[in-house]
Amino acid sequence: MAKLNVNPNRMELTKLKRRLVTAVRGHKLLKDKQDELMRRFIDLVRHNNELRKNVEAELLAAYKAFALASAIVSSEFLEEALLLPTRRVSLEVTTQNVMSVTVPKMEFKEEALLQDADIFPYGFLGTSDEADRALKTLYDILPKLLELGEVEKTCNLMTDEIEKTRRRVNALEYMTIPQLKETIKYIKMKLDENERSNLVRLIKVKTMIQA
């Protein structure tokens, strides 16, 4: 490991020692942050994986039901039936700080546009039972789908932060700290050497005077 290019004197030594203390402390803190981030990330990503598998399977089932419905009812009619929704889903986004990563916290507001409206935006005349079923399946998936949105975004944001933290921890652990240690050792050696040579010189001078 290369030592830093500094003058070997006492002032540099003190400075470097102080830097080493800071670096070690920073390394410890960052390492703790990395561990905690990783723990949370792993939990979250497992959840994300499960959720996505679930949602994908259910969504495909809903599509199938919907395809069946559109095979029975003409597509223009189906489109017309769905034209005017009875409810509106909106999103309330607040931000939350998880280990210094800002993640969105989404809350879903669902409001019916008409009073006592059920989820079906059409009358029962003309549409088939299949359409009802397809809509019902999709409606049941909706909360999961929205949760997936929040979880997946959070995972995404955490990934970046974890990578950044890991790089910093590694840089401190394998570059900064060893370099500082090496340099401190070098300066100490150099100072000791100077001390010794000074001593020898004094002794030499003394014998010359006595002679």
């Binding site: 994908e56 409810r87 999709l138 997936l148 929040e150 997946e152 995404n156």
Partner: protein, 108 residues
């Protein structure tokens, strides 16, 4: 800070029609016109859409645009399978995340 956001769905017409019934805003797009899909996604991101669902079929054609929003808090762009079946793109994204963060795949 509370902001009310909207939810958008982008995809081919057959896949997304049903979402309209719940009051989500749907935007039809076609896989062979990536330019149009890109414009739609960018416009939704600029307007106050907090969550954009996009079918994998469309998402495949505009991956750079989607990756661009990875680091922003909103919008969250979520891939959903289209009505022709899952392409595994969404799953691959989760796996890529894990590999980037952990350094190896721990999910399966």
């Amino acid at each position: 800070m509370i902001i009310m956001r909207k939810i958008g769905v982008v995809g081919d017409k057959d896949s997304i029609l049903a979402f309209k019934a719940f009051g989500l805003d749907v935007f039809p797009a076609f896989a062979h016109q990536p330019e149009d899909s890109r414009k739609i996604v960018d416009r939704l991101a600029r307007e106050d859409y907090g969550l954009i669902f996009i079918t994998e079929q469309i998402a495949q054609t505009i991956t750079e645009t989607i990756d661009r929003y990875n680091k922003a808090i909103t919008p969250a762009i979520i891939l959903i399978p289209g009505n022709t079946g899952s392409l595994g793109v969404g799953m691959a994204r989760i796996r890529a995340n894990v590999e980037k963060a952990v350094g190896m795949n721990i999910l399966d």
